[in-house]
Symmetry: C2
Subunit: 243 residues, 2 copies
Amino acid sequence: MPTLAGFAATAALIADPARSAMLHALLGGEALTAGELARIAGVAPPTASAHLAQLVAGGLVVVHQQGRHRYHRLASEEVAAALESLGCLAALSDAAAVSRPRRPWPHGEAFRTARLCYDHLAGRIGVGLHARITGAGWLAPAPGGWRLTEAGTERLAALGLDLDAARQARRFACDCMDWSERRPHLAGGLGRELAQALLRRGWLRRAAPQCGGEGDPFARRRLTPTPEGARALRESFGLDLAA
Amino acid sequence: MPTLAGFAATAALIADPARSAMLHALLGGEALTAGELARIAGVAPPTASAHLAQLVAGGLVVVHQQGRHRYHRLASEEVAAALESLGCLAALSDAAAVSRPRRPWPHGEAFRTARLCYDHLAGRIGVGLHARITGAGWLAPAPGGWRLTEAGTERLAALGLDLDAARQARRFACDCMDWSERRPHLAGGLGRELAQALLRRGWLRRAAPQCGGEGDPFARRRLTPTPEGARALRESFGLDLAA
DNA sequence: CCATCGCTTCGGTGGCGCGCGAAACAGCGC
DNA sequence: GCGCTGTTTCGCGCGCCACCGAAGCGATGG
């Protein structure tokens, strides 16, 4: 019964530090095994197993057995969206607590520049692209999200996006509130294909997991623009990453 | 420091049933006293006081002392948006758990028809108006949300919205994911003025708190369309509430 | 000035749930 | 077959947190 109980129960799933770290790592979009998640969360395998069972029962995570490994993924885009909006809220209240808005973030500005939110782009580049793409009339509002215009079809196909694959998704294009920028970025099938295209083109690259190593849930989500990508983003979209 | 800790800490604030009930009641948009919230949550005054102190410290709630009463409100629109998206997620996982999507909701279809989400409209009427208003070209996408078009300025002013007041808000118009409908409704200053206008016109009315009484956090949010309002919504927006 | 009311602080109690180690189980390779 | 690895189940300890009653504090009203 979707009532107050379910409301609080779902929040309780996210509230535990170990589960929170797991969910955060899964926001990178990859499917991770129970053992990897245990190391990331810093708990023993039995503990991680119990946590994962709860996340699966709660519908936040789906599991896919392959041999003796069990791969865990976020259950849906809605989960990613809720986690981001919750993080946005946490960022707000943290800023209020120190009464100094937008103080530099210990985890590195790089994370704010570009990262994966489940399967689509987030961070400055994510919200910047969202603003340019919608502002340029490539997308038009549609019930429940966005639809492609003629101009958008042409330009995005030229960028190398697989628009047919995007249309296969349950939701074609919609907004997802960005945690660090507090403005929307593009989610849905189109958001996924946009991220894929930029990675394929070599404009963005998954960051090397050097800082913090495997135990760092942030590392799995961080993206860095290549020099070539930074130039292309500036020329094609007017995005100045230094700003 | 907005990091994993803040992430989980904010979720933990929402996770407790008593705090969850309080937050839910505050989604009605009214400022409530500590005593009222204690009764709503079904706990003793000292317990409620401790909970409220945590919510205030966490930045989810702001308090305003007036005489011997302490009035509590949600801290911001972002809090409301995060609560709705979390509720959306809970509704999804509940539906998955019973493996029967969209089963009738024990708390009454009325809550799905129309309710307040903080200060703006939610439910079928909320998402319906969002779709019609954006689909009709009254709003156009803008960085971070929506801007008024000429047509929209004319038509919404004719509806009795105070557009100047809407522009005073920190955010003029943006989307907020609807818990029950899982599609966006209109938030921001314009969303608030839209709700105010429909209430002023008598198209919607705050539901009488009969069912459940004061202890029912849902009662404070429920709205019902008047017969006149249902007719007007059908004629002006093509919204058929029976569907 | 005292009674009342709303709210908070303080101390003590209880229970939920996170944590681990040990052991059982399943897949895989030799 | 046997050992190795990844994962789950079981049992138990411990810590945190929600909860209440009683008392303290500030504001209101007669």
